[in-house]
Subunit: 273 residues, 2 copies
């Protein structure tokens, strides 16, 4: 029996999503509570849509878990599990919803996009939001950022913005990259792509901040696209400003098809000879 | 030499503003650092515009302090003190500005209004804002709150909403009381008055929530105004949702006059016989 969990957490006291021996992680915390609350004989594994790094937050993380058949009707299990998790979990992680997903649903491979928001401020420090908004020392020009961001949109090799992983592609479809100055005074950078490689959002924002503060030109940023190596010139922004806000899934009928596509290796379209 | 300090803090780890022996308070923390950074022989006293309770936050607290004459030009002292405080203070309290105020300025008695915002949510818990947004179990109707709030505006005796203090008046001029559902989904109640008595904002919001969730009628709320005793029927909202956002001062020429007025005891206008 597969269940879907919609999860929010403050990343400040977690060593990221992925379970690590001896460290407090979101996956470890949740898997531990699932085992205790459901009195499972064997440990279970949560599979998530976006493996967030240490210190990164989430409002819209999605995960699935496969439970042994207990003879109880799945919707009943979901409702009861949601109730028990609400009581048991510490305040910095919340399971907002437990549901029975459509057949073929896979939290990671069914996802068609992930949306992150990065928050930064060039204003005086605000102690109320200091665990969620990263300080930047120089004034940021949001219009300059948005002009420069358009060069990054579309299907590209983002190797310059990714921490290298052997054998993994760094080709991604960047769908949205836009900055807004919000009424509270800080800047929110919204980023949406089919998927992200490691440290990609924080590097994209790092690159944009270089341009938005005037330290680098928009041309410098544009030339980093479709390079095939990580660039040491791109600063990686601190984790605390980043929130996984939402994960998109297709309509139920297309779930299986999508998972097959996502497992296939992404490639850039070949140029015509 | 009098200096003005503009201060922001996250109230979560403070036992309120007012210094108390053996407890961490905003006043205690700041007075301690002023003494150390300026190597003062005698302790100094900070006077603030709004003495916030334990757990209450501030973005716009204002305080003044009188320093012994060091022979240095006051603006120079202010700039240097701001720089040192920025380096020395822990992350949950920030002195945003140190300035030399106009003659006659008194952080408490010159203030002509205080603006607070109370944040609450009737949506699923958000671990990212849990130290700043108070949960409410029932759905809140913002339109109903705003309709009911108008009955409280103006010069009234707010004794029903205040913790009793012998000899202190509870007559206040309530200038603004309005609720908004913000894009993030929670509700912000903005309250502005010439001044507030103890627990008044949290009680006003508590009364509005009773009405906005349908537990009490708007008439119940309206009848609490101009009573002369604290009402046990009004719930006091938790401290964590409250932020002192801004303090208003008159133009410099009127500062002295304002302080004299504020020291005088407020009275309701006598009815004609």
């Amino acid at each position: 029996m597969r269940l879907r969990l919609d999860i929010a957490y403050h990343g400040g006291d977690f060593h990221g999503w992925a379970a690590q021996p001896g460290l407090r992680t979101v996956q470890g915390e949740l898997e531990g509570w699932l085992g205790r609350l459901l009195r499972l004989a064997e440990p279970v594994t949560l599979v998530c849509a976006g493996r967030t790094d240490a210190g990164v937050h989430a409002r819209g993380q999605v995960a699935h878990v496969d439970l042994p058949d207990s003879g109880t009707e799945p919707n009943g299990v979901a409702v009861e599990l949601a109730r028990r998790l609400r009581r048991a979990l510490p305040g910095d992680v919340v399971v907002r919803r437990v549901s029975v997903p459509p057949p073929g649903f896979d939290a990671r491979f069914s996802a068609i996009w992930r949306r992150y928001v990065y928050r930064l401020t060039d204003r005086p420090a605000d102690p109320l939001t200091r665990t969620m908004v990263a300080p930047v020392r120089t004034a940021v020009d949001v219009a300059v950022i948005n002009e420069a961001a358009t060069a990054l949109l579309g299907l590209h090799d983002f190797a310059a913005f990714c921490r290298a992983r052997v054998g993994a592609t760094t080709i991604r479809q960047l769908q949205l990259l836009v900055a807004d100055r919000v009424p509270a005074g800080h800047v929110e950078v919204t980023v949406r792509a089919d998927a992200f490689c490691h440290s990609m959002v924080r590097s994209l924002v790092g690159g944009l901040v270089e341009v938005g503060t005037g330290r680098r030109s928009p041309e410098w940023l544009a030339e980093l696209v479709d390079r095939d190596l990580r660039s040491g010139e791109v600063p990686v922004m601190p984790a605390l400003g980043l929130v996984l806000e939402e994960v998109g899934y297709p309509v139920p009928e297309l779930l299986g098809q999508r998972a097959t596509q996502a497992r296939a290796r992404r490639e850039l379209p070949k140029e015509q000879p």
